[in-house]
Symmetry: C2
Subunit: 197 residues, 2 copies
Amino acid sequence: MRQRLTQGLIQVYTGNSKGKSTAAFGLALRAIGHGFKVYIIQFMKGSGYYGELATWHRLYPYIQFSQYGRGCPYSHLIRQGEDSCRGCGQCFVKKGEATAEDIRQAAMALEKTRKIMATDEFDIIILDEVLNAIYFELISTKEVLELINNKPPLVELVLTGRNAPPEIIAAAHLVTEMKEIKHPFQQGISARRGIEY
Amino acid sequence: MRQRLTQGLIQVYTGNSKGKSTAAFGLALRAIGHGFKVYIIQFMKGSGYYGELATWHRLYPYIQFSQYGRGCPYSHLIRQGEDSCRGCGQCFVKKGEATAEDIRQAAMALEKTRKIMATDEFDIIILDEVLNAIYFELISTKEVLELINNKPPLVELVLTGRNAPPEIIAAAHLVTEMKEIKHPFQQGISARRGIEY
């Protein structure tokens, strides 16, 4: 018998501190323990070296995912521990300088979200960094509100990223702001494999 | 070849909103993707119906865990979806009314943490709800500071729970406050299987 949520809501994890995406991923880990299925769609992310990717592969078909955006050209080396992020910026979108390709990739992520919603196969859909994609002007607040409005009643939609627009906050049932009190970066400690990525 | 962190820090997830424990669990999911090993010690939790438990079992031996505290006497029924939390309070510790058994369980959790640290087998140790255990006077801030001070250099220690004491915040490298902007409870929606537990 397929598990269904009793009610599917809109959750937003925003703010400037660590824990937004990881809270969404922890929620996925919890949900599949009850037999629910999760689809994660990542905006502004590609060919990554993030550890969670390997774990999601291990949890297939309960967790499935797609990535849309520029990847790191050196992700294989970073994954292997032979290199680390040198801030080359090749995976970055600069505010006000989004390219046609950046916009096309984000449009693909939106289209994928619509398709995944339409399958009625997944109980939780996580749109990771979708709020950043709005901030960087790859997609519009209106497009995300349309997704929210067309969400099937028994699907939980989880949105992450900095700078949640007020219209999205108004439309959400749960909003947590991750507020930075302290961060290792302030203490000169750079990103570490297995923790920050 | 065993993976080791380059540097093990102290992380704190506190505040009054959703996402503290799930951020820690998402971090675990990320870490094991790089071959690290995670031990989760839960304070004030026992025989639970939380979905993450089933997923952790699936991820053994990369994620291992122990629980200390009162469990829910009806967790099997809730896990099966035939019942839900009725707020009976049997799993609760009331502020100022901790029993000797509550205190003994929390002491066991501290002792287990010391043992797990001493094995040098785990890269990330998550003390879930440990800050609540301080708040409910089951353990002292001093005991947790001792754990922090005795932490092996390459072990990441992650503490969750409301009301982080200032001494713990001072000792931490990363502190995120989960600030409640909106919560479904405010809208009369009660906890849902697969999402809240």
